[in-house]
């Protein structure tokens, strides 16, 4: 790659560095610096309420963490929350995308409508869901009773399993639009001749889906799923608004666990250690994500 392939002098290339630097400085200051500090603090004793009492503890925070039963609980909860949310979001997103990719009226209007859950602030829709899922006056319980699916009021946020279920349903509602958006865009990029040719060849709808559509969608599904895994790992708003990790840690994920240690116990050292463990887990997904985003396609 020649530096001057466009006949631009070296001076202009240095100008590129100037152009990039403001954004880089902001990102370094707000995102990278805290990350490095976080890794350093994970080896220190630092409780915010006793600022004079700072010292190196090396691996003590990590040793304490691996003895903490909340580590396994939050690991399990994060895994359930992320996996179920992604599978549900992917399934509904795929269904809606396939439906809207048919020749239907008002396709663009429908696309806009299906995207709305994605743009409402999580706190705002969580409050609405809190009303809908409330045990005595909630519309969810009313409908479930009418359909004879439950006999009594379900106390959604009082039991671990139902609280997790509710949180996942709400998260699926919030994020299926993103899956739908990406998959629909990929569907619309499939050349129509390919589909038409296979119709002429007498394939049925399922054969077409599995042998033509799905291979075309493979890349986009991988990209979106990886991105959503990272975002769901970071997901904080929905659980914090609805349950704050309760009842009795049943919905405590990694972010909730870290946040509580940091801003309820003010133990910044310990909180940093939790987040570092989480960072290591995420690195695997990060690697896949970067490979994809950088090249715009998947090659392994």
């Amino acid at each position: 790659m020649a530096k001057n392939r466009f006949g631009i002098g070296l001076k202009k290339n240095i100008f590129g560095v100037y152009l990039i630097s403001p954004a880089i400085i902001v990102i370094l200051f707000v995102l990278l610096w805290p990350l490095i500090q976080g890794i350093i603090y994970s080896f220190r004793h630092y409780v915010l309420t006793e600022p004079q009492n700072k010292y190196w503890v090396f691996f003590d925070n990590y040793i304490a963490l691996f003895k903490d039963q909340l580590l396994l609980i939050s690991l399990k909860n994060t895994f359930i929350y992320v996996t179920c949310s992604i599978l549900g979001g992917l399934f509904i997103g795929l269904c809606v995308a396939l439906l809207l990719n048919q020749k239907i009226v008002l396709q663009r209007v429908f696309r806009g409508i299906f995207l709305t859950p994605w743009i409402i602030a999580p706190v705002v829709f969580c409050l609405i869901f809190m009303y809908m899922f409330s045990s005595e006056v909630g519309i969810v319980n009313y409908v479930l009773q009418k359909l004879h699916l439950t006999r009594d009021f379900v106390q959604w946020f009082s039991y671990g399993t139902t609280a997790m279920l509710a949180v996942i349903i709400i998260n699926i509602w919030a994020q299926f639009p993103f899956f739908f958006l990406m998959i629909l865009a990929a569907l619309q990029s499939i050349p129509t001749e390919v589909i038409e040719a296979s119709v002429v060849d007498g394939t049925n709808i399922f054969q077409r889906f599995f042998h033509i559509t799905l291979p075309y969608l493979k890349n986009i599904i991988l990209i979106t799923t990886t991105l959503m895994t990272i975002w769901n790992f970071n997901s904080f708003d929905i659980i914090w608004t609805l349950t704050k990790g309760g009842p009795v840690n049943a919905t405590t994920t990694f972010s909730i666990f870290t946040y509580r240690i940091a801003f309820k116990n003010f133990d910044m050292g310990y909180a940093s250690a939790i987040a570092v463990v989480w960072l290591i887990i995420l690195t695997v997904f990060a690697y896949i994500y970067i490979r994809i985003m950088e090249r715009g396609n998947v090659e392994f």
């Binding site: 290339n13 240095i14 590129g16 403001p22 954004a23 509904i92 995207l115 705002v124 006056v137 790992f233």
Partner: protein
């Protein structure tokens, strides 16, 4: 007889076609219900008197349209006053949210135009690594960042200020914005600005007069994206503003409506409608650009 035998496969195909159409629309209606019911319920609840929100079985559509919850939301409330009803803080949250989100949008647009252009058009050592690093910031654990950012901003004394919030949220929306805009820049032929340079235009002049107008769809996408990031963010705004006077909408709603002894569902819903409707309208008008921005890079033919 002969005639009808000839036609029958066509008829069967037609009937099948009609049935599959009906089936498709039915399924769309099912999914639409799932997507829109909470929004319908929010609007319906906001128009009921608060007492009616405790009805069981619930009333689907308000018996009488009633705007008292909206009026209650707009009545100003003194900061820190001992209030029984939580509503009245909304105008302040709205103002804070607007100041922060509009500033974040402006800064993100400026910085990501420069950075996206720099990444698209110039080569310098370490460029590829730097771009990967920018993408990698997306998966830094947000809670780890916020813990340290809190300490950092505390030492800099910019907790509870607009500056702190704007700085943090701009950084949060920058990586994807740079990625989107670089995609838009990459699709413009280089000859365009090279011609302008030959004509004696400076690099910045060419960028401003020739390139920026062409990528305006990308700029709209970035504007919408960064506005939404700032407007909807809870974690950063909750942590970096401790005093209720500085709350934007998400932390404001959280402190007003979660964990209270009595729930004012109608007023809460009215507030939810009021903060969501502007965003929904802007989004519906501009969604095509954001869709283009997000999918163009990820979907390649």
């Amino acid at each position: 007889m002969l005639n009808s035998e000839n036609k029958s496969p066509v008829n069967r195909y037609k009937i099948l076609h009609v049935f599959s159409r009906i089936f498709i629309y039915l399924l769309i209606i099912v999914f639409l219900t799932f997507a829109l019911f909470p929004i319908f319920w929010m609007i319906s609840t906001s128009l009921k008197p608060n007492a009616d929100t405790y009805d069981f079985p619930p009333t689907w559509i308000p018996k009488k349209i009633n705007f008292e919850s909206y009026i209650a939301q707009l009545a100003p409330r003194d900061i820190g006053s001992s209030h029984l009803r939580p509503s009245g803080g909304l105008p302040r949250y709205f103002k804070n949210g607007m100041i922060v989100s509009v500033s974040v949008t402006i800064f993100t647009i400026l910085l990501s135009i420069f950075a996206g252009y720099g990444f698209s058009r110039f080569s310098f050592p370490g460029k590829r690594r730097l771009f990967i690093f920018i993408l990698a910031t997306q998966m830094f654990p947000a809670v780890l960042i916020i813990v340290q950012l809190y300490i950092l901003f505390h030492n800099l004394k910019i907790i509870n200020t607009y500056y702190g919030l704007i700085l943090a949220l701009t950084a949060l929306s920058l990586p994807l914005s740079i990625w989107m805009l670089r995609g838009f820049f990459d699709r413009i032929p280089r000859e365009l600005e090279e011609a302008a340079w030959v004509d004696g235009c400076s690099v910045m002049g060419a960028l401003y007069r020739i390139i920026v107008p062409i990528i305006s769809p990308g700029i709209i996408a970035v504007a919408l994206f960064s506005f939404l990031v700032a407007w909807n963010n809870l974690l950063f705004t909750l942590t970096l503003s401790i005093r209720p006077e500085m709350y934007t909408i998400p932390p404001g709603f959280l402190s007003d409506y979660v964990g209270q002894f009595t729930y004012y569902w109608a007023e809460m819903s009215a507030g939810a409608v009021m903060v969501s409707i502007p965003v929904i309208i802007i989004f519906i008008l501009l969604q095509k650009y954001l869709v283009q921005g997000l999918t163009a890079g990820a979907v390649k033919g």
